[in-house]
Symmetry: C2
Subunit: 346 residues, 2 copies
């Protein structure tokens, strides 16, 4: 549908089929394929594996660019780092690449738990891994990290959820609703039957503007950080950076991920009891919100951290807010690195 | 157009014509009428007048209900309190009540400075007032308060801008854009030519949802304050409270006010030099942001307060965020009262 989801832009990655995945909501992905990027080598003991799931709109590429490298905490010379693209992100099985029967608006509903079960099968069956030195992810990657730590506690030695929650909040759900509505109300969306993302350009631009308002912070703009990043004013920042980022993406992919994001909730495992669910975690866990995050704010994350037995609250300071995850603030990236290094040393 | 803008719902108020108002942007209101609610009596010295301008979507009624009363700082037994509805709010001259030639989408663009000049004429010509003991307003009322203090420094003894700025920020501008787009993208809006607000119900509901996300705070929802206010869940809160509040309003009125809000900027008086503009203020000024405000945040207000000679920074603590202005948090209302009392005692 669009040349955006390619090896040229997001590779190198491998596509690995894990077979049929029966989804929590009742749908089926008959041939669930995960796009996987690995860095480094699995050692003989198979105990140096780090799993990195991806966030809303993100792919394995940005994780590689911002977080992985020699001398970094996620060091391929020491660890076998497996970045798994989430279902629906356009590289793994997604509305934009699924067989016609479930393509586009017919794509079944996928939950965070489905991703984590798919990743579990990939790690155990394909790579023969029984133990993860670390699961680390930001935003929806943090949701998957929490799901891993609660669902497979014996398999996760360490967990580092960054700028995300274990149980999505009502406020965050409403924010995500506004993202969804920005897209679905575009007449060009045509209930998901558009022929090309360009037909939904207006909706994608409104979606990008909402991300501008909530993704960074008031301090970011007051400090002129958007100009520091090379955009002469707010319009240029919205048009070139934010809209430029989102506009090549497939709207149905974004909506599939948004639906999943809204419903991230580990308390599904314990009949709605979040304390009990988080109490299951045995991983050494560093909870790392970002100081100026407007929709996964530190206090929402702190409330959860206090329910996790072997955990520490390690907030990252950045006026870049949630989208400091993009790596725009070098100090924040360094802070994350220092924390991950400390966590891996435990 | 709609029975919402009536004496029954928003009265009592008087409508007072101030004659022709030539607008900053070049338009004209030939017979500019201000809806005015007064409380108390003007004394013989005419030095006990307090001016209260209104905020986006608000009218004189909520100011009366939440902020004015015997024993309060704004005490009608001591002060002559004049609440002036802003142009475009549906009670004063507005798209919804203007003569056909400038009605609805044909309504000319109005700026904060136009409101303040109109109010100045009302106070001097109609009431014979040359000096104001206090100008106090929240949100767009704060924008008008700043405009008063900069434009007519000799007339304003005290100023209390609550939860608003003297120069609107780029972030706030973008947020307001999302409000505007929620309305204008509704096919029922028909470029402003809808026959009734009900035809724009979907757009007004999206507009209400954006207010839900940005108007309160993440702490508000985490603390279950929406349930404390009597709504069983987020959907009920959005449908009944937020959408219920906005849905009877006229979309063109809201858009007229939004355009004005986005462009509030006292530095127009000094060629863009905000420090010079705020340096003109001679009023004793209490700058009162609300702690959890997501779009007029304390630090944006602090940066301005530091440029005002005879001012104090007096933040109000409330997890209700910007919409604590509604009076939902009794402690915040009390804090505002205490500050206004202290200001009036200077």
């Amino acid at each position: 549908m669009t040349p955006y989801y390619t090896q040229q832009i997001h590779g190198p990655f491998k596509t690995i089929s894990i077979g049929q995945l029966d989804l929590e909501e009742g749908g089926v992905l008959e041939d669930c394929t995960l796009a996987v990027a690995t860095h480094g080598q699995l050692n003989a003991a198979k105990d140096n594996a780090i799993l990195v799931p991806t966030w809303y709109s993100g792919t394995s590429k940005i994780m590689e660019q911002v977080y992985i490298g020699q001398g970094r905490a996620l060091d391929p010379s020491r660890y076998f780092i497996i970045v798994v693209n989430q279902i629906g992100n356009g590289l793994s099985t997604s509305p934009s690449n699924a067989p016609s029967r479930i393509a586009g608006p017919r794509f079944p509903r996928v939950r965070i738990g489905d991703d984590v079960r798919a990743q579990h099968r990939l790690l155990t069956a394909h790579f023969g891994i029984q133990r993860l030195a670390l699961v680390v992810g930001g935003s929806m990657g943090a949701q998957q990290t929490y799901e891993w730590a609660v669902r497979y506690p014996d398999m996760v030695e360490r967990a580092a959820p960054i700028a995300g929650t274990a149980c999505n909040t009502e406020h965050d759900f409403a924010f995500t609703d506004t993202l969804v509505e920005a897209i679905t109300t575009d007449p060009g969306f045509r209930d998901g039957t558009y022929a090309d993302s360009a037909e939904v350009a207006a909706g994608l631009r409104r979606h990008a503007k909402l991300w501008t308002v909530m993704g960074w912070s008031t301090e970011f703009f007051r400090g002129g950080r958007h100009r520091v990043l090379g955009f002469e004013d707010m319009d240029a920042f919205i048009d070139q950076f934010m809209t430029g980022y989102f506009s090549p993406m497939d709207p149905n992919n974004l909506l599939s991920m948004a639906w999943k994001w809204q419903r991230g909730d580990v308390s599904r495992h314990t009949g709605g009891d979040l304390a009990q669910a988080l109490g299951r975690i045995t991983a050494k866990t560093f909870v790392m919100p970002i100081s100026h995050d407007m929709f996964f704010p530190p206090n929402d994350c702190l409330a959860e951290q206090q329910l996790i037995p072997n955990s520490e609250f390690r907030p990252i300071t950045s006026i870049d807010g949630h989208l400091a995850l993009f790596g725009t603030d070098a100090n924040a990236v360094t802070e994350i690195d220092i924390n991950l290094r400390a966590l891996l040393a435990t």
